[in-house]
């Protein structure tokens, strides 16, 4: 029986923690690289080059090759001369009742309505949110002739205004100096709130590196090899919450709060480093001796176990179909159910259900209402717990 914790595992853990910190710092440095604006407005040359492009059918025929050929040049000149001769030789006989040409109706392929005026001239708020330098790089009037907007406006202006207000609010939130990271806690990865935040992230300029690394994160990382299981429960708490969490964990999962020895695989390390400020417990949480030990004399008492859910109850015939494995602190072994097909309880495996329960135990139950989102400030004092799944 391998013990849960050895001095070597602590050394490995410290090394892993240092590596993670350094990886996280590398990420912060890359995030903080300056984002210079393009020196000139590229829309003007792009539009000029677009206008200079030959029609599609000519490009498909190989316009450049045709135009460059000598026969094409000779043919062009001959055709011009023939047209000139034709014009000069034709009699000029105007008819008595000239047919009035019909005005040419502009037909489009998609019957697309013209661009609404507010898109041609975006409001100040949108310009402010997009770029502070955009006023300096306005296109020249010659390059962008002012279009004549049609009175038929299709875009719903109320929806536009509402979107703009939401965008301004989010951009203002992201630009607050005290916000290090904005995250949403939602039940699923889909939904309007996530897309709203992503939209805001994409739209918001990163003026400062401190506001740059804004990424919607989840509370825990899911092992890609084992969907449905959380391999690490990562959570950001301050010192007080950390103490509270430690107490709660010790009460609920006495003897099981340990750290994972050895080094994690690269994807897991990458996921951990992505979570930003990471800290590890330098030493395992001291395991409280069971209170009932003295009453039972020298007998071995299994750790206290929260048996609210069949998965967590070693004696239960719940959904866990794997045979239990005898494990635990030396001298206090007990039977534990195993999730997955591991031959022994994997350190660091944490069922999803357990993660949610810990969130509720801490009073940060944000998983209950799907779609209900909130922005929160992550604190600098962050920890990552690696828990043993019984």
């Amino acid at each position: 029986m391998k013990p849960f914790w050895t001095p070597a595992s602590t050394a490995n853990l410290t090394r892993l923690a240092r590596q993670l910190r350094e990886l996280a710092r590398v990420r912060q440095w890359v995030v903080g690289l300056p984002r210079p604006k393009p020196p000139a407005d590229v829309s003007a040359p792009v539009l000029i080059r677009i206008a200079a492009q030959p029609p599609l059918w000519l490009r498909l025929l190989g316009w450049r090759r045709v135009a460059a050929s000598r026969s094409f040049a000779v043919g062009t000149r001959l055709a011009s001369a023939a047209a000139l001769v034709l014009i000069l030789t034709l009699p000029c006989t105007p008819t008595a009742d000239p047919v009035k040409p019909k005005p040419i109706q502009e037909t489009t392929l998609f019957d697309t309505p013209p661009i609404p005026p507010d898109l041609w001239n975006p409001p100040e708020s949108a310009v402010l949110a997009e770029s502070t330098d955009s006023n300096d790089s306005k296109p020249t009037p010659s390059a962008h002739p002012e279009p004549q907007p049609s009175p038929t406006v299709v875009v719903n202006l109320d929806v536009e205004r509402r979107h703009q207000a939401g965008r301004r609010r989010l951009v203002a939130l992201l630009d607050r100096p005290d916000v290090q990271r904005v995250f949403e806690v939602v039940e699923s990865l889909d939904g309007p709130s996530r897309s709203l935040v992503e939209e805001a992230l994409h739209r918001s300029p990163r003026r400062s590196k401190d506001y740059g690394p804004i990424t919607p994160v989840r509370r825990f990382a899911v092992d890609p090899e084992r969907p449905g299981e959380a391999i690490v429960f990562a959570m950001t708490v301050d010192t007080h919450e950390r103490t509270q969490l430690t107490d709660t964990l010790e009460q609920s999962f006495a003897g099981c709060v340990i750290v994972e020895p050895g080094s994690a695989p690269p994807p897991v390390v990458t996921l951990l480093a992505d979570m930003g400020q990471i800290d590890f417990l330098d030493e395992p949480v001291p395991i409280k001796p069971p209170e009932a030990e003295s009453s039972r004399g020298a007998g071995v008492v299994p750790p206290k176990l929260n048996t609210e859910h069949p998965d967590l109850n070693p004696s239960s015939d719940g959904p866990c179909r794997k045979p239990p494995v005898r494990a635990g602190v030396k001298g206090q072994e007990t039977d534990w159910p195993v999730s997955g097909n591991r031959s022994r309880p994997r350190l660091g495996r944490l069922p999803l259900l357990r993660a949610r329960r810990i969130g509720r135990a801490l009073g940060t139950d944000n998983f209950a209402r799907p779609g209900d989102h909130q922005a929160a400030k992550l604190r600098s004092d962050s920890i990552v717990w690696l828990l043993d799944a019984p």
């Binding site: 990886l23 300056p34 080059r49 296109p139 962008h144 875009v155």
Partner: protein, 200 residues
């Protein structure tokens, strides 16, 4: 709001023949594409050329844009692929914290009262980070820039670069580890300076 529907509307307008609508899209997304291209190519001139080329290619292939993804994602993919194909086999030599004319690019002033010494220090650090980035293989550099610089998700990176998510994670980890090794001296300097600050 410059949303997805709005982009789609502009695309359709552009398809209908009003190429000026494409100018709106160019102005809307040039500032977001340029830094990525600059980091990927390593030269301001190349980045600007690629930026124009990206939009021209997008315009030429506008009929292939069906709106399955957002216009930005689509054009971003074009830009990254162009940059990757342009950079493969061509080493980056120019430090990126220099502008087109060789002048240093000011780092972001995030506190409003930053002293010039700190800014210079930061510019020098950015130079070293960029040099370390430039030393990476193009594929590794692209993954780091897409993830850390642009904040894309793994799924998006996998889709853009055309590799599985596991490969994205592995490349990212290797790239960051290599960066960490190359920036080892910087770690030492930072820790010593923080220790000095702590003593003070």
């Amino acid at each position: 709001m410059a949303g997805r529907d709005d982009d789609q509307y502009l695309v359709e307008t552009c398809r209908a023949g009003q190429s000026e609508a494409f100018g709106i899209l160019v102005r809307r997304y040039r500032d977001r594409l340029h830094p990525t291209l600059l980091r990927l190519t390593g030269r301001a001139e190349d980045a600007e050329d690629l930026l124009q080329e990206t939009f021209l290619r997008a315009f030429a292939k506008l009929n292939r844009f069906h709106g399955d993804s957002s216009f930005y994602t689509w054009i971003y993919r074009i830009a990254v692929n162009l940059a990757l194909s342009a950079r493969r086999g061509r080493p980056i030599t120019l430090p990126l914290s220099r502008g087109a004319g060789g002048e240093p690019l000011d780092p972001a002033d995030d506190h409003g009262r930053t002293d010039p010494g700190l800014r210079l220090e930061r510019a020098e650090r950015d130079d070293r980070i960029q040099n370390a980035l430039n030393a990476l293989a193009p594929d590794h550099r692209a993954v780091v820039i897409l993830k850390d610089f642009d904040g894309l998700r793994y799924e998006e990176i996998a889709e853009i670069v055309g590799i599985p998510i596991g490969t994205v994670r592995s490349r990212l980890h290797r790239a960051r580890s290599e960066l960490r090794e190359r920036l080892r001296t910087l770690f030492g300097e930072e820790s010593s300076s923080s220790a000095a600050n702590h003593r003070n």
